[in-house]
């Protein structure tokens, strides 16, 4: 009985994961701006892979070998995914690949735009 339940749970989680990964891939192809395109992979990384890993755990318990590795993968993924997304966003702003954000109200500028003058000469758009 438990085995049958585990099989059903595994299948449901795999289908959910597939749907969200598919939507993320569609989004990656469809969206046309570097910043909006960044939204698609963050979704695949959270619910999509999360559902796959839960399916893997259900399968392991159904077979009778409990497994916690998946929770660790999920935890490390949740910690690292925002960092890579943040780096890509910073590169987009730095390369002026997207619409520039308006200047902050409280401070002078965003930290990515805060380039010391000695390094500004090295940026390609400044050279004649």
């Amino acid at each position: 009985m438990i085995e049958l339940l585990a099989v059903y749970a595994t299948t449901v989680f795999l289908v959910i994961g597939c749907i969200f990964t598919l939507v993320a891939a569609i989004g990656l192809l469809k969206l046309n701006d570097p910043m909006t395109r960044l939204h698609a992979p963050t979704k695949a990384a959270t619910v999509g892979i999360g559902a796959f890993l839960l399916g893997s755990m259900c399968h392991a318990y159904g077979v009778g070998e409990g497994s916690f590795h998946e929770l660790m993968i999920l935890a490390f993924l949740f910690v690292t995914a925002p960092i890579s997304a943040n780096f890509i966003a910073k590169v987009n702003i730095h390369k002026r690949a997207c619409d520039m954000p308006p200047a902050p109200k409280l401070d002078e500028m965003w930290s990515t735009q805060d380039v010391p003058e000695s390094e500004q000469e090295m940026e390609p758009q400044k050279t004649p």
């Binding site: 910043m35 963050t42 965003w110």
Partner: protein, 166 residues
């Protein structure tokens, strides 16, 4: 006595987390592995304490747990919402927007958790911090009303983080 304990456990919570992570990585809850995890949990915070001098003082682990549950629930709901936007709205109908979130939080740890939360809940990506660290730049995928996005972030996440770190 307190000083000795403080010296041995510079970050008690980090010790606990390292022990749990080590046990889970081994995939084997046995006494030997737990003891080895505790040894690692004492050595690693002790050796790295020099690089983390201003650790946040009042960290409430219980509130952090309820905050994590709220965030997980929001991630699931927001994923369905964003999947619907991607599948049904054309690129021209979408209104991406930059949202500026003025920060009341001061601790770098709290701001990091807030930025991570914003990126994990789909539909918003935290992109940059202002040069004095007083506001956070967030990009929203589809925000007809950017002020509503800002108010939701402040009300739902930042207020709770302020209660966790105080």
């Amino acid at each position: 006595m307190m000083r000795a304990l403080n010296w041995l456990f510079p970050h008690p919570l980090l010790t606990l987390i390292l022990t749990i992570v080590w046990t889970m990585l081994q995939n084997d809850v046995s006494a030997g592995m737990v003891v080895f995890g505790i040894i690692l949990g004492i050595i690693i915070p002790r050796v790295t304490a020099v690089w983390w001098p201003d650790r946040p003082q009042g960290f409430r682990a219980g509130k952090m747990l309820s905050y994590s549950l709220i965030v997980v629930w929001d991630i699931i709901l927001a994923n369905i919402h964003v999947a619907w936007i991607i599948l049904t709205k054309s690129n021209a109908q979408m209104k991406p927007a930059w949202v500026e979130v003025p920060l009341d939080l001061r601790e770098p740890e709290a701001i990091t958790i807030l930025a991570g939360t914003i990126t994990l809940t789909p539909g918003t990506v935290s992109a940059d911090l202002s040069n004095e660290g007083r506001s956070l730049l967030v990009h929203a995928l589809d925000a007809p009303d950017p002020d509503a996005v800002r108010d939701e972030i402040k009300e739902r996440y930042e207020r709770r983080l302020k209660e966790i770190f105080q």
